[in-house]
Symmetry: C2
Subunit: 104 residues, 2 copies
């Protein structure tokens, strides 16, 4: 049995990424760091939504921020998040194709 602490961790982890906006932001950042305005443009989301969600992503160690003058550059955590996304690709491609094609 895993510890209840680690158990809570899973909840936090999945909860953070079970959201369209954050998922899109994370994917946009796969191409490299961007400041908030750039993320707004890339995602077509409004600024407030982007900020709220960046905060959540940062809080969970999925992105890092660096201030450069008046800009804040957000970077994806490539050490853990990137390989994870790839593993999930593999799972979904194998088991969830039907779902994605809409044929239940």
């Amino acid at each position: 049995m895993i510890s209840s602490k680690l158990f809570g961790a899973y909840k936090l982890f999945f909860g953070t990424l079970a959201n369209d906006s954050r998922l899109k932001i994370v994917n946009v950042l796969r191409d490299g760091p961007q400041c908030v305005n750039e993320i707004c443009e890339s995602t077509r989301f409004e600024q407030s939504l982007v900020s709220h969600n960046l905060k959540i992503l940062e809080y969970h160690g999925m992105v890092f921020v660096e201030r450069k003058g008046k800009y804040r550059y957000y970077t994806l955590n490539k050490k853990t998040i990137q390989p994870l996304l790839e593993l999930i690709d593999a799972h979904m491609k194998q088991y969830c194709c039907k779902i994605l094609e809409g044929q239940r």
Copy 2:
């Protein structure tokens, strides 16, 4: 840029595991297959809740069912879900200890 299809896949994947009940069920199944009643006992969840969530887990390829007489045995997908959980362990231990200790 990832395809929108794969993008939808992420949403499905994380959404499925961003839930206390399903997470607990998945963890219980790490120790080996169990039928619904056994899962109810292991998790202390009521039967209806367990069934609803097993259905979701199965639908996303995270568990498999096998009927044995009047019982239905559920097995964790060890090929993809188990290694995934381990990768996530690593991420959370490194980046989310503070969160889990309650010190924001």
